[in-house]
C-alpha cells in the first residue's frame, strides 16, 4: 500500500482525502465521497450508491456443477450492512447487476432475503436494472428503475459512449494495476475524469477489468484518475502510474 500512497494525481484533478480514508471530489456540482469499501456516498442526498453486487453468483456456478463457496451473497451483505450502519444513508441505490441472473432472487437464502428487507427499514432502496438482472427484483422492497437522476447526476448501469457529464455508472468493474520494482498490486477502483464516474464492482465474486483495457477507451475526456481501494483508504492513482495486465 505504500507503493500506492506515494502516487499523486495530475494537478488538474481536485480531490481531498476525508478523515474516514475516503476520497472526496465534485462531479457536476455534486459532492461525492468514494469509500474504501467501493461504495459511493452522495453527501447532499445522503444516498449510498453501490454497483454490480452480483448476488448469488456462487450458486449460479453451483447449479452447473462448479461448487464455489456459497457465501458470496452473505459476504457482500456483510460489507453493505457495515456501510449502512456507518453512514446511515436515507437512500441506497443499486447501480444494476445486483443479481447475477434472472432467477438469483429465488435462490437467496431466507436469511439473506430477510437481511435485505431489514435494510429497507427507515430508508428507500432503488434498484437500477442491469444486463444481468434486466427485470430487477420482484419481491424485495424498493423501486425498480432503468435510469434515474440525482441532482445534477444521471445514474445508469452501463456507461454510454461519448461525453456524458454527470453520469454515474458501473458495469465495467474497473480495476487498477500498479507495478513497482517491489511488486505489483491490482485493486478494484473508481474511475473518473471529473465529469463522469464508473464505480467498482461491490460483489464478493465480481472480477475486475483493467482500466487500461480497450473497453474503457472513448469513455473519458482525458486520462482518468483511479480511486484504488486500499484496506482502509482510497488511493488516488494517476494514469501514468497504471499498467495493463
Amino acid at each position: 500500500m505504500t507503493a500506492l500512497a506515494r502516487q499523486t494525481a495530475p494537478a488538474p484533478y481536485a480531490f481531498a482525502q476525508s478523515p474516514c480514508g475516503g476520497l472526496e471530489m465534485e462531479i457536476m456540482g455534486a459532492a461525492l465521497r468514494m469509500r474504501a469499501s467501493g461504495a459511493l456516498l452522495d453527501l447532499a442526498h445522503q444516498a449510498l450508491i453501490v454497483a454490480d453486487l452480483h448476488f448469488e453468483k456462487g450458486s449460479a456456478y453451483g447449479m452447473r456443477g462448479q461448487f464455489l463457496p456459497p457465501y458470496d451473497t452473505r459476504d457482500t451483505l456483510d460489507r453493505l450492512e457495515a456501510e449502512v450502519a456507518a453512514l446511515e444513508p436515507r437512500v441506497v441505490i443499486f447501480l444494476g447487476d445486483s443479481f447475477h441472473d434472472g432467477r438469483a432472487e429465488d435462490r437467496l437464502s431466507p436469511d439473506d432475503a430477510a437481511r435485505l428487507v431489514a435494510l429497507a427499514q427507515g430508508r428507500t432502496l432503488i434498484w437500477l436494472v442491469g444486463n444481468h438482472d434486466a427485470d430487477g427484483p420482484r419481491r424485495l422492497p424498493g423501486q425498480v428503475v432503468d435510469t434515474m437522476t440525482l441532482g445534477g447526476l444521471v445514474l445508469r448501469h452501463e456507461p454510454e459512449a461519448g461525453d456524458q457529464p454527470g453520469e454515474l455508472s458501473g458495469h465495467l468493474h474497473p480495476c487498477a494495476r500498479v507495478s513497482s520494482g517491489r511488486g505489483t498490486v491490482r485493486r478494484r477502483c473508481f474511475a473518473t475524469d471529473g465529469t463522469r464516474m464508473i464505480l467498482p464492482a461491490f460483489g464478493a465474486y465480481a472480477g475486475g477489468l483493467n482500466l487500461k483495457d480497450a473497453a474503457f477507451s472513448g469513455l473519458f475526456s482525458r486520462p482518468p484518475l483511479a480511486g484504488a481501494l486500499g484496506r482502509d483508504r482510497v488511493h488516488a492513482v494517476g494514469w501514468r502510474s497504471l499498467t495493463g495486465d
Binding site: 456462487g58 450458486s59 453451483g62 447449479m63 452447473r64 456443477g65 462448479q66 461448487f67 464455489l68 463457496p69 456459497p70 457465501y71 458470496d72 452473505r74 459476504d75 437464502s109 507495478s179 520494482g181 517491489r182 511488486g183 505489483t184 491490482r186 464478493a204 465474486y205 465480481a206 472480477g207 475486475g208 499498467t243 495493463g244 495486465d245
Partner: protein, 825 residues
C-alpha cells in the same frame, strides 16, 4: 561376468540369448534378476545408474512373456503399461523398444500415447489395444476415468514406472499411486515394476509403489529390491577461478571466460543453470566470448516448443558444442555424445546433481565428467560439499509422502466417471496405495462429500450434486456434462498461465511468435524497458490480452527483471555438509585462497560456529542495527523464519524495518539495537503457533496454494470447452473465492489442503520447525561493533533488492567496494 553365471541359464529363451550374442552383449546380472523376479510373480524396484540398461531390464520380462504367448482368437488387452514422467521419454522409449522387437522378429505391438498423439491413433488404441502401451501419469488418469476402463485393463499383467524417483514425492505421484491401485483392482495379477536412479533410501520408494494390504504404517510391502551395478563414479571438479570468487551474486559472470575455454576443449557440453534468467544471461555472455563461433544453443521452459525441439534435434545429430539449459533437460532422452556437464552456480542438492551429471556419457564403463562453477563464496563451500557427497555416493533423502486430499478428490470423481462405485470398497482400494495407506475414513467421507456437493456447512448445493448415491448404494456421476468437465481437468500438473512473446507488427498488432513467458516473468518491466529473452535483447512495447509485444533492441544494455536466486532450495543434507565443511578448519585446504582468507577473517573478527550451532551476529551500521543469522536451511525456510522473527522483534521493541534472505542466511535490520535481545526467546519453538497462523492467512502464498488445490480438486476449472480462460482471470477469481471461504468457513477441506501444501512446499514450515528444534540451546551470539565477513553477501543482497536496473548496478558496485573494504579493514 562371474556374477552373471550365478543365475540359471534358462532365464533367457534362445531367441533372446541369440539376440544378445549377435549384438556382442552379455545380459547384465540385474537384467536377468528382473526376469527371475517376474517369473516368481514378484513386484520389483530396480535401482541403477543411467546407462545401465535399466529400461531394457524393465521390459525384458514382458518381451519374453509376450513372445511365448499362444496365439489367440480374440483381440487381447494391454499386457504391459509403461509410465514415464515425460512425454518425450515415452516416445523415445517406444523408438528404443522397436529395435529388439524388430531384430528378434517378435510379433509385439508397442505404442506410445501422449497428449500429442493424433485422434485417429488414440481411437484405434482404444478399440484395438497394443500389447505394450507407453504413456504418462496424466493419460493414465484419463484412461481410468473412461467408462470401459475395467474391461480395457483386465488383461494387464505388468506396469513399469520409469524415473520413479522424480514422481513419488509429488502430487503427480499421488495421482499415479491411486491409479495403480485402481488397475490392481481391474487386474489382480498385475505386477509392479519400478525403475529408479540411485536414491538415498530405496525403502521410501518401495513403500510408495507397493501394494499395502491394510497394514497401516507397519512393514514395507513386498517389493523386491534389485540393485544394478554401481557404475563408474563421476569425476567432478570445482572451478577454482583465476579471477577472485565474488562475495555475492548468482550469475558466475567472473568465470565465463574460463567456462568458454572448457567448452572449447569438450566434444559437447551441457551447461546447467538454476533459473531461466541465468540461462539467458549465460547464453548471452558465452556468445559475447564466442570468437570461434561455436554452435552454442539455449534450452529452457519459456522458449517456444518448436524452438526447443529444433535444439533437441540438432543436439541428437551431434551438431552442437554446448547447450545452456535449465531443469528442462534434467531428465529425458539419451543424447549419447555429451561428454561434459557444467553446473553454473550452486547445485542445491546432491541427487539433482547426480541426475544432471548422468546426462554426460550414457555409458557405464566411462566416468561422467562434471565441472561446478560457484557464483559466490558461500556457493564455493556448497560446491565443495556437493562434490564430496557425490564422491562418497551419498544423497539427499525425500521424506515419505502423505497423499494430498485435493488429488484424492480428483481421483474419486474420475472413478465415478468410469463406473458406479461403492464407497467402502473404494476406500479399501485407496488404502492399498502407498501415499494413502493411512487415510482416515472421516477424511475420505469429507472428500466424497466435497466431490458431491462442495462439502460446505451451508448445504446449498445438495440439489446439484456432481456424484449421486443411487438406490443400490453406489455413487455415479450426475450426467455426461459432469463427466466431460472432469476429463478436461484431469492431471496434477499446474502450469502457470503463459503469455506469448510476439514481434510487434504494424498498428500494434501481434506478429511472429518468439516464445512464451510465464505470467509474472516480466512483472517488474514497464513498456519501453529492455530485457533479454531467447538470447536477444528486446524492447517491451506493451501487453495485449495474452501477447507480450516486443521489438528487437540489439544495441541496448538490457534492464533485467530482478535476478532471483535458485528456485530450488538448498537440500537439508547438503546444508549439513556445508556446515561441517565450514567448521572443520583442516578441511579448508580444498578451498581457493580468497575463500579461505574469507573464512579466516570471519574466524578472527566474529566466529565460526560448530556444525550443530547457529551463529547470530548483531552489529550497528549507518543509522541502523543489524541481526544476521546463518541457519543454512534454504531461502524459503529463511523467508518464513524472517517473517515470524520480525513480528517478535516488533513486540520486543526492536522496531524492525526490513529483512533479506538467501539460501544460507537471513538479515533483519531495525531502528533499535538488538544486542540485548533474548535469543532463546526469539527462536523459541512456539514461534510456529499463532504468529504463523496470522501471517499465513494473509499471505499471497496461501492464495497461490489455494488456487492450485482448487484447480486440482475440480473447484475451479482449468478450461471450459471452447472458451479458454486466461490465467489472469483465474488468478483473480481464485483470490476472491479464497477470501470469502476463509471468512465464512475457515475449516473447509480445501483450506486444509492449501495450508498443508503451503506448509510443506511454499514456506517450508517443517524445515523451520526442525531447525528451531536443532538449535535450541545451541545459538552462538557474536556482538560486533561492525559487520562481519560472512554478513557482507547478505548486505549486498539488500542493495540488490532495493535498486533494480542499470543505475542500480552502479550503485551496487560502489556499495560492494565499500562494504568489502570495511569488513577487511
Amino acid at each position: 561376468m562371474a556374477e552373471d553365471a550365478a543365475l540359471p541359464a534358462d532365464l533367457l529363451p534362445a531367441a533372446f540369448a541369440d539376440w544378445f550374442a549377435t549384438r556382442g552383449w552379455a545380459p547384465r546380472a540385474h537384467q536377468l534378476e528382473m526376469v527371475a523376479r517376474a517369473r516368481a510373480g514378484r513386484d520389483a524396484l530396480l535401482i541403477a545408474p543411467t546407462g545401465g540398461g535399466k529400461t531394457l531390464a524393465g521390459f525384458l520380462p514382458s518381451l519374453i512373456e509376450l513372445s511365448q504367448r499362444p496365439p489367440a482368437n480374440t483381440p487381447r488387452g494391454i499386457h504391459t503399461l509403461y509410465i514415464s514422467p515425460l512425454k518425450a521419454l515415452a516416445v523415445d522409449v517406444e523408438r528404443n523398444l522397436a529395435t529388439p522387437i524388430r531384430e528378434m522378429g517378435l510379433s509385439i505391438v508397442a505404442e506410445s500415447r501422449t497428449g500429442d498423439t493424433g485422434a485417429a491413433r488414440r481411437q484405434r488404441q482404444r478399440v484395438k489395444p497394443p500389447d505394450i502401451l507407453l504413456t504418462t501419469p496424466e493419460q493414465l488418469a484419463l484412461f481410468c476415468a473412461w467408462e470401459g476402463a475395467r474391461a480395457y485393463f483386465e488383461d494387464l499383467s505388468c506396469i513399469i514406472l520409469d524415473e520413479i524417483h522424480t514422481l513419488h514425492s509429488t502430487k503427480r505421484g499421488d495421482l499415479l499411486a491411486l491409479d495403480i491401485a485402481r488397475l490392481q483392482t481391474f487386474s489382480p495379477r498385475l505386477r509392479r515394476v519400478g525403475l529408479s536412479a540411485t536414491v538415498d533410501d530405496p525403502d521410501v520408494i518401495r513403500r510408495w509403489m507397493g501394494f499395502h494390504a491394510g497394514e497401516g504404517d507397519g512393514a514395507p510391502p513386498a517389493v523386491d529390491l534389485v540393485l544394478g551395478p554401481a557404475g563408474t563414479p563421476p569425476i567432478v571438479d570445482v572451478l577454482l577461478s583465476e579471477g577472485r570468487v565474488p562475495w555475492a551474486g548468482h550469475t558466475a559472470q567472473h568465470a565465463m571466460a574460463e567456462v568458454y575455454e572448457v567448452i572449447k576443449k569438450a566434444r559437447t557440453a551441457l551447461v546447467f543453470v538454476n533459473t531461466r534468467f541465468q540461462a539467458e544471461f549465460a547464453f548471452q555472455e558465452l556468445w559475447r566470448l564466442n570468437e570461434d563461433a561455436l554452435p552454442i544453443a539455449l534450452h529452457h521452459g519459456s522458449l517456444a516448443a518448436e524452438q526447443r525441439r529444433r535444439v533437441e534435434a540438432a543436439m541428437a545429430r551431434g551438431e552442437l558444442r554446448a547447450v545452456v539449459c535449465t531443469s528442462t533437460l534434467d531428465l529425458g532422452i539419451d543424447w549419447g555424445d555429451v561428454d561434459l556437464v557444467i553446473q553454473l552456480a550452486s547445485p542445491k542438492g546432491a541427487s539433482r546433481m547426480v541426475q544432471r551429471i548422468g546426462r554426460a556419457n550414457h555409458r557405464m564403463d566411462e566416468a561422467s565428467r562434471a565441472l561446478f562453477v560457484p557464483a559466490n563464496r558461500f556457493e564455493m563451500l556448497e560446491c565443495q560439499a556437493a562434490r564430496e557427497a557425490i564422491a562418497e555416493n551419498r544423497f539427499d533423502g525425500d521424506p515419505p509422502r502423505v497423499g494430498a486430499l485435493d488429488i484424492l478428490a480428483q481421483h474419486v470423481m474420475g472413478c465415478a466417471c468410469s463406473e458406479p462405485f461403492d464407497a467402502l470398497a473404494l476406500y479399501d482400494e485407496i488404502r492399498t496405495s502407498g501415499p494413502y495407506r493411512a487415510l482416515a475414513w472421516e477424511d475420505f467421507e469429507q472428500v466424497v462429500d466435497f466431490v458431491s456437493t462442495g462439502g460446505y456447512a451451508l448445504r446449498a448445493y445438495d440439489r446439484f450434486r456432481r456424484i449421486v448415491k443411487g438406490q443400490d448404494g453406489l455413487w455415479r456421476a450426475r450426467n455426461a456434462d459432469t463427466i466431460l468437465r472432469h476429463r478436461l481437468n484431469v492431471g496434477a500438473i499446474l502450469s502457470p498461465a503463459v503469455l506469448s512473446v510476439r514481434l510487434a507488427g504494424r498498428g500494434g498488432r501481434a506478429g511472429r511468435k518468439i516464445g512464451e513467458v510465464e505470467e509474472g516473468y516480466l512483472e517488474a518491466l514497464e513498456p519501453g524497458d529492455t530485457f533479454i529473452f531467447a538470447g536477444q535483447v528486446w524492447r517491451l512495447m506493451g501487453v495485449s490480452a495474452l501477447d507480450v509485444l516486443v521489438t528487437p533492441a540489439p544495441a541496448s544494455d538490457p534492464k533485467l527483471p530482478s535476478w532471483g536466486g535458485s528456485k530450488f532450495a538448498l537440500s537439508t543434507f547438503l546444508a549439513k555438509r556445508v556446515r561441517e565443511l565450514m567448521f572443520d578448519q583442516s578441511h579448508w585446504a580444498v578451498l581457493p585462497a580468497d575463500v579461505r582468507e574469507w573464512l579466516e577473517l570471519q574466524r578472527d573478527r566474529s566466529l565460526i560456529p560448530a556444525e550443530d550451532e547457529m551463529l547470530v551476529e548483531t552489529f550497528p551500521r549507518g543509522k541502523r542495527h543489524f541481526m544476521v543469522c546463518y541457519p543454512f536451511e534454504g531461502r524459503l525456510a529463511h523467508t518464513t523464519l524472517a517473517m515470524l522473527m520480525t513480528r517478535r522483534l516488533e513486540r520486543m521493541g526492536a522496531a524492525p524495518l526490513g529483512f533479506v534472505c538467501n539460501d544460507y542466511a537471513l538479515a533483519v535490520w531495525s531502528l533499535n539495537p538488538m544486542d540485548g535481545v533474548d535469543l532463546d526467546a526469539l527462536f523459541a519453538q512456539d514461534m510456529l503457533g499463532d504468529d504463523l497462523e496470522d501471517w499465513l492467512a494473509e499471505s499471497y502464498m496461501m492464495k497461490r496454494s489455494f488456487k492450485g488445490c482448487a484447480i486440482l480438486a475440480g473447484l475451479i476449472e482449468r478450461r471450459f470447452p471452447g472458451a479458454e480462460k486466461s490465467g489472469r482471470q483465474v488468478t483473480f477469481s481464485a483470490d476472491l473465492v479464497y477470501d470469502v471461504l476463509r471468512r465464512h468457513e475457515p475449516d473447509h477441506l480445501l483450506l486444509r489442503c492449501a495450508r498443508e501444501e503451503a506448509a510443506t512446499g511454499l514456506i517450508d514450515v517443517a524445515r523451520v520447525g526442525h531447525m528451531l528444534a536443532r538449535i535450541q540451546g545451541k545459538i552462538r551470539h557474536a556482538v560486533l561493533d561492525h559487520l562481519s565477513p560472512f554478513s557482507v553477501p547478505m548486505l549486498l543482497e539488500i542493495g540488490k533488492e532495493r535498486v533494480p536496473g542499470a543505475a542500480g548496478e552502479m550503485i551496487l558496485a560502489e556499495a560492494a567496494e565499500d562494504l568489502i573494504a570495511e569488513a577487511s579493514s
